[in-house]
């Protein structure tokens, strides 16, 4: 007579469920650690995933032919831009890049200078990023003014005090009245509005609806008193030319700056892929870090489970003795209690998934509404699988010791337990 599985699986389930039902309140509190841990995993992953998709989409919006030439050493993380190399890109670099003898396959190159200040029209003022650039900058964004015009090479040469504004800037400063030819003040200097952009939204890091564009020469000479650029935006004629353009720019500027050792570059050329990779790596690292923290919460939750199961086993000593006296094997008892703790943690994991998913959805909904960003909620199935399996594993690992303790109880002593 073989009685390896003395009690059929279904009945073990029933017994375990009844055990949990009898102590609902306590069961719920016990799994709190698990719930929070799994919820954190889901939340972090779903927001992280959505952010990643958003940003990668944005990167795509600029197109695969664009490269950014930036001052400073090759950025490997969160460095402060304002170091001594920050001023390494100047007019001679722009001219050198634009020279087809130096750089092959270049479609266009335009410098960008940025600072933050207020623009004022009458009683209205807005505090925002002010960009200095050249006439072909709008081509990078694949956009042209819906009213008026973009400034020209003449304006660059003459350092004209003209400005092109985005749709939301126009809304806020001028409302429904005409903006063209009106005067706005930037840092005490008067600029004439010559163009208004159509609404386009976010392209890479620039919100075109909130754009304020003036000729870079004007910005450098009159507003900032500097000679360097924040960056030079370049575009190759085709995607296949991108590596060649990149290589040529490096060669050209290194020669210009007298750099022989690439380690000593005072600039870098970043393609869209470079940005994408950098971002992906950073976000993965962050994700993993946060998941580790959440895993610690699961661990702590597991210790809590073990404690409570031990208490539960002690409380039910008499019951264990009784079950043994009517024919439960050690294995039956062990399986009963192990299943209870696994069910507990599994339910905790499920709860965590629902809460994490729900909160994640809410968070992204809020970001969309108040942050002006086009986030999409991605339900991270991989995180769900991870979270639930982790919680089951925790249930098994931390439930094992109490279950074994229960199984070892001597029936007579157990029955005598008060």
């Amino acid at each position: 007579m073989e009685h390896i599985w003395n009690m059929k699986v279904k009945n073990i389930f029933k017994t375990a469920v009844n055990g949990l039902r009898a102590r609902k309140g306590r069961s719920l509190l016990t799994i709190l650690g698990i719930v929070i841990g799994v919820m954190a995993i889901i939340l972090v992953t779903s927001i992280g995933n959505s952010a990643e998709i958003l940003i990668l989409n944005n990167l795509q919006s600029l197109g695969n032919k664009v490269m950014s030439v930036e001052p400073g050493q090759n950025i490997k993380g969160l460095t402060d831009f304002y170091e001594y190399f920050a001023e390494s890109l100047k007019e001679r670099d722009l001219d050198a890049i634009r020279n087809p003898n130096n750089v092959r396959g270049l479609d266009r190159a335009e410098p960008m200078v940025v600072f933050v200040d207020s623009i004022i029209y009458g009683n209205e003022s807005m505090h925002m990023n002010i960009y200095g650039s050249g006439p072909s900058m709008l081509d990078f964004f694949d956009i042209s003014p819906r009213e008026g015009f973009m400034f020209t090479d003449e304006d660059i040469k003459l350092r004209s005090s003209v400005v092109v504004i985005g749709s939301e800037v126009k809304e806020q400063l001028f409302g429904n009245s005409n903006a063209l030819n009106e005067k706005i003040k930037i840092r005490g200097r008067t600029f004439r509005v010559i163009g208004v952009l159509p609404p386009k939204g976010q392209v890479f890091v620039w919100n075109l609806n909130k754009m304020v564009l003036i000729p870079y020469t004007t910005m450098q000479y009159y507003l900032l008193g500097t000679k360097h650029y924040t960056l030079i935006l370049t575009q190759a004629v085709s995607e296949s030319m991108v590596p060649i353009v990149k290589e040529d720019i490096y060669k050209t500027l290194r020669e210009l700056h007298g750099i022989t050792d690439p380690e000593k570059d005072d600039f870098s050329v970043q393609t869209i892929d470079d940005y994408a990779n950098r971002f992906s790596i950073a976000s993965r690292v962050l994700n993993i870090l946060l998941i580790c923290v959440a895993a610690i919460s699961l661990l702590v939750g597991g210790i809590g489970i073990m404690n409570i199961m031990l208490v539960s086993v002690t409380e039910r000593t008499k019951e264990i003795g009784l079950r043994k006296s009517i024919g439960a094997t050690n294995g039956d008892i062990m399986r009963q209690f192990l299943l209870e703790s696994v069910m507990l943690t599994f339910i905790g994991g499920l709860l965590g998934v629902f809460l994490g998913g729900g909160l994640g959805w809410l968070a992204i909904f809020a970001f969309k509404k108040f942050g002006d960003l086009n986030w999409a909620f991605e339900f991270p199935m991989s995180a769900v699988v991870l979270g639930v399996s982790l919680s089951v594993i925790v249930g098994i690992v931390f439930g094992l010791y109490p279950a074994v303790q229960a199984a070892k109880k001597n029936p007579i002593e157990a029955l005598r337990y008060e």
Partner: protein, 260 residues
Amino acid sequence: MEKPIIDVKHLYKTYHAGEVKTPVLHDVNFSINDGEFVAITGPSGAGKSTLLNILGFLDKETSGIYRFEGKKMDDYTEDEIAHVRNKEIGFIFQAFNLLPHTSVFKNVRLPLFYSDTPEKEWNHRVIEAIKSVGLENRINFDPSKLSGGERQRVAIARALINDPKVIFADEPTGNLDSKSGQNVMEILQDLNRKKGHTIILITHEMYTAEYAQRVISIKDGRVNSDRKIEHQREANHEFMSSIENLPIEAPLGVPTGVSV
């Protein structure tokens, strides 16, 4: 001569608590045949419960041979012991030992969970067992809502559910008033006479012991005497006749399709 269902030879039991040894049973010898109703008596601490626990497969002897149905207890594996506890033996305790917050129906059903009886027979068996102790009208009650006598009857129904060969009763009337106690003894006699169960009863009261056919008296861990009862006390059959044909309630938490 039929083989005895229980055969005990030179049984010794000593408890070890660290360094301290407490001898409890010395050289106990007797045998019990199928269908006997035996009472084991003696003063408190004489070793009766210890003996019953060994006979009932809840404890192991220190030395000596205990044969159950001809097989030595030492030869039983852990799983086989569990099987004996489940199928061959029914235990009734002084303190009832029912599962709290669990209906009468589910309490009686419990041993079936650990058996290999097909599930479709369960409901029928449980109800028959409950009927045999007259608790049809309490089928969904929680033990806390039952009297002492009713609780012991639930325990008896539970002990019967797998149709055991031997029923062990450890001071079954110890926590009951005399009326309930008599009802319980009536049920036990009935089980012995009409259904042929072997019954082994522990009690420290001679009065209760006289419901049995034979009394083994234990003193200081040894068999003091082993004699047949000349005038077996007859339980009046008031109780058993009163519980025939009681109306039965549908058990809660049981799948439909149960013919009641």
